[in-house]
Point group: C2
Chain length 329, copies 2
């Protein structure tokens, strides 16, 4: 029997507070060696878009085995009036291998990415943080703000946002103010985000650095979740050089796919050993932030363990609450 969960079902079953707990647990189990995340498979030619195949397994109490298939087809909106990013998650019973749940994965993708930033904020931002700035007002950005909000135990008061598209920024402001009850300020330039903000989030499709590292105030925590290829980045080498902690969702994944770290390593500014997985901070192997003045950086390229964890959360809750449709096939 396969439980089918639509986007609406998933939306009903998932909140950021829980997503954050599950993503944190996934990172922890990875560091404990109790989870396995193979390098994801990318398929392109002869297709006009990219498909990523992302399986993963997490042991311990979570006992989750799942695969996300996510596609990124840039011409979808214009050509087919369909979203660029489409995703589904297949949940297997870890004891039998049987696929027991299939769910829409687009909301989960945005939520688990927001949750990753939330976990980084919990461990790396200054404890008294109340303000953030975000590059981009898109779909991912909205869940990033929610991630920061719950990462700060709902103490976030204000979010500054910059987006080249004014209408998107306006929609963002209305949605976020309503959803989280915080103040949203639309700013005129990217640099405006850097003053009087405790946390900076980069959630763009940019392939080059968004700001000069010279301008980042001391004490800032930065989370970058855009740019996931070896030759592109959202953060410049100065930002990386100035940071006292260079944290990754998963070190191996960032060393394979994150230009933000790969490029400065190539330049000799940092070395591989300077990068640590956030799981090492969660388990207490490595200290998180130790002063009010240091700059901390978190980079996540997205790993299957995040989807596996949040997918399992949604599946278990669907069974418990009797949501979704069962099909025997």
């Amino acid at each position: 029997m396969v439980r089918i969960l639509t986007k609406e079902n998933v939306s009903q079953l998932l909140n950021m507070s829980d997503a954050l707990k599950y993503v944190e647990e996934a990172y922890k189990q990875l560091t404990l060696g109790n989870a396995f995340v193979p390098q994801r498979i990318a398929i392109t030619d002869p297709a006009p878009g990219l498909t990523l195949i992302m399986p993963g397994i997490i042991g311990g109490e979570m006992s989750a085995l799942a695969t996300k298939i996510v596609s990124v087809y840039k011409q979808n909106p214009e050509k087919y009036n369909m979203p660029t990013v489409l995703a589904k998650i297949m949940i297997q019973d870890i004891n039998t291998g049987d696929i027991v749940g299939i769910m829409d994965g687009s909301l989960i993708t945005a939520m688990r990415t927001g949750a990753a930033t939330g976990v980084s904020v919990k461990y790396l931002a200054r404890k008294n943080s109340t303000t953030m700035g975000i590059y981009s007002a898109g779909v991912q950005a909205r869940k990033q703000v929610a991630g920061v909000y719950y990462g700060l135990n709902q103490k976030l008061e204000k979010c500054k946002v910059f987006d080249f598209k004014k209408d998107i920024a306006e929609a963002f402001k209305i949605e976020i103010e309503k959803e989280l009850g915080i103040e949203v300020e639309i700013v005129e330039s990217g640099d405006d985000l850097l003053s009087n903000t405790d946390i900076i989030v980069a959630a763009t499709t940019s392939t080059t650095p968004l700001f000069s590292g010279e301008k980042v105030p001391e004490g800032t925590h930065i989370s970058s979740i855009g740019a996931h290829a070896a030759d592109v980045r959202e953060l410049d080498s100065t930002t990386i050089k100035r940071a006292s902690l260079l944290v990754a969702g998963l070190k191996e994944a960032c060393l394979a796919e994150a230009g933000d770290y790969i490029i400065p390593i190539g330049e000799g500014i940092i070395s591989e050993k300077d990068i640590i997985s956030i799981g090492n901070i969660i388990t207490g192997d490595v200290s998180g932030r130790t002063s009010e003045s240091e700059i901390t950086v978190f980079k996540s390229v997205g790993i299957s363990a995040q989807d596996v964890a949040v997918g399992k959360l949604v599946y278990d809750r669907a069974l418990k609450e009797g949501i979704g449709q069962d099909i025997d096939f």
Copy 2:
């Protein structure tokens, strides 16, 4: 909209004759560089079984993009009264990336494996072949006979079968005689298969060679579809040494996973360049059988392109014939 196809739907929509054509086309497109089969991902610990994630893409007229998730849990029958092998195939629209079909994959797995042997028989067995022998009478074996039957243009007259389990062999005899209208003879030992048979199929779970290569008659075509790890094999080094053609479903996959070729390469009996992909024979780059007396070997470890091709066949036909259930999620 996602078309859901049960095992019964798939069974209704699929026959070996078509499976063979689609698998042949998949092999051909691979050789033409118009398809991509990443090395499959294996997931085990901390699960009590194996999951293989097998995505693939085939261009040309077929335009197929799909992923099979197949699990092999040996304790399933005893512990959960469930099959050892479970599989589902997710079909994507190659133009949008959207998952548009999800189907049971167990019958397709057996059929595409039989079809691979069928393609090898078409190109490598003697043209006047009418007899075969098969090691194992299991589920895979039954579809192997069908593959040989259609690979020989329905000219197969007799199949000898050896299985340690007598009741399985009896069931095999009844099923195959009814389904294909050929004579089935149950033999007492593996070596009994080697005399007066044009084609030998090895479809076992054995990890060591099934017969001595000395005993293989001249002119025999051998297809081995069991044993898919670097350190196990169904065929001994003598068989490999005596063969004039060492063919692979896909050379790269066999060099990674087929002990039947990897072990003799390690022994220095053959070298990597002696192995050719069957696609090179289908396209005519390399000659197939050129004499009545030579021994030919085909080894297949199973590649996603086979599942992608046959999955696409089933999906297209389901749409055309209005079979299955549509779910919007």
